[in-house]
Every structure is written in C-alpha cells, then in structure tokens.
Symmetry: C2
C-alpha cells in the first residue's frame, strides 16, 4: 500500500490495519475496535469506522456488506466469501479452478462495470450442529409425547 495516499500515518491507523491483517475472522467494526483496544485502550469506535472506510476506499482492505453488519477483510485480493445465514459470520471461499470463472461478458444496460463480487450464503459448521441438535431434540420429544 502507498502511505502517501493518506495525509497522516497515525498510530491508530497502523494498529487497525495490523490487527485486521492478523485475523481471518472478517470482524465487524465493533469487534475489531475491541481487539485494537488491547493495544490502544482509548481508541474510539468512530475512529475505527473512519479508518476502515478510508482503507477500503483505497483498496487496502475489503468491506463486506449485506446480511446485517458490515464486515472487513484485511486481504484485499479478489476472492469469494460465504456468510452464515444464522449467525452472520463470514469465511473465505476457495473456488476450485478459478481460471474457469473469469468476469463474464455481460449486458449491463449502459453501466460501466467497475468490479464484481461473488458471495455464497449458507450455514456454518457451528450453526448446522445447533440446528441438528435442535432437530434431534424435537424428534425425541415428539416420540415421547
């Protein structure tokens, strides 16, 4: 990244980026603020929002919107994500043979296409287990009834 793209290289901005890049959990702004506060106890949520917005505008990080709260990814490289419909958590998706999936030729009714995003949605491991436990419980109560 080019440090000249912003005016001041503040400690807050550095720590926010460093901590985000350590994570693979695609945290929300609030969660990242909590983590950054271990190093900078006085940082405010507003500052975290301002910097995450700036960094994502610069293309240094990715902002993942949709499905509730925004989440952030310290890896700016183009890659797909999957979001859990139950708890909202986000994980990276490794597409097999991605060379088979170039940006398709498309008709976009006068739009100038700048980018694209491929998002999956489903149920994460933990939520699927919860659902199965619930199902088994309901089946059992039904039999006993």
């Amino acid at each position: 990244m080019n440090p000249k793209l912003w005016q001041r290289n503040t400690q807050q901005r550095q720590v926010i980026l460093e901590e985000l890049r350590k994570l693979t959990s695609h945290p929300t702004a609030a969660k990242l603020c909590e983590i950054v506060r271990r190093r900078l106890p006085n940082i405010s949520l507003g500052t975290v929002y301002r910097n995450l917005e700036l960094l994502s505008q610069l293309g240094v990080i990715q902002k993942l919107e949709g499905g509730g709260e925004a989440r952030f990814d310290g890896n700016a490289a183009q890659h797909a994500h999957i979001r859990c419909l139950a708890c909202g958590c986000v994980a990276d998706v490794l597409v097999n043979r991605p060379e088979k999936y170039p940006l398709p030729k498309c008709e976009c009714g006068g739009f100038e296409v700048i980018g694209h995003r491929w998002e999956f949605f489903g149920l994460c491991n933990r939520c699927r287990q919860k659902r199965n436990i619930r199902k088994r419980y309901l089946e059992r109560s039904h039999k006993n009834a």
Copy 2:
C-alpha cells in the same frame, strides 16, 4: 407461490407483491410503499417491511442487500445484478453464455452452501454522464484559470 405458506392472504400483501412484480427498477422498501399507497393510501411502511421480509424468506421475491438501502426484486429466479456506486440504483445483468458459469466446486470450511449471489458494481449511465459533465467542466475551468 403457495398461498398456504402464510396464514392470511391480505389485500396489503397482494398489492405489495403485484406492484413489485410490475417493476424492473428494484425499488427500496420506502419507494415501493409510496407506489402501493396509490392503491392503498393508508398502508404503513412497517407493513411493507414486514411483508417484503416474509416474501423474501419464502423465496417469492429477492432481497438485495449491500451498498446502503436494501432493494427488492419481484423476480425470484437466480440472476445477477449490478449496483451503481454513485446513486445506488440496481439493474439486472444478462450474463452471456451463463452455462459457462455453473456454481463452482469450492471449499467452504465446513459451511453448508445454500445459495450464491453474483453482484457487479459500477456506474450507471446517468451517473457516468454526470461525472463526464463534471470532468469537462473542471478541465475547462482549469484552462481558463
């Protein structure tokens, strides 16, 4: 769609769905409420939100999140969308040779994949023209300065 999936087939619900299906503009909840009020002047925004949420849960319509306000599409069939980064408007995308782009095999770290969404972003015709007008204006002022 199966009317039994809900409990009451109210006039509000019918009109919301009818009006949404007439549109290709992917309206926001507020915009659709405005349109529905031509036929049901007393309908409340809360009712519109409740029904749009219900219908999208049932898979009768699509809810398009990300990039600000949610927008809704009366066409529930799987298809790609493009959103204008400047004004937020949404249009359908016609992917050429979609058979070349089946759901890819992927590793999703324990997720159960339920669906996917392919979203493009860019600038719509109108915003692009505005931008060009602005650019020409700035160039001209620069020359004159």
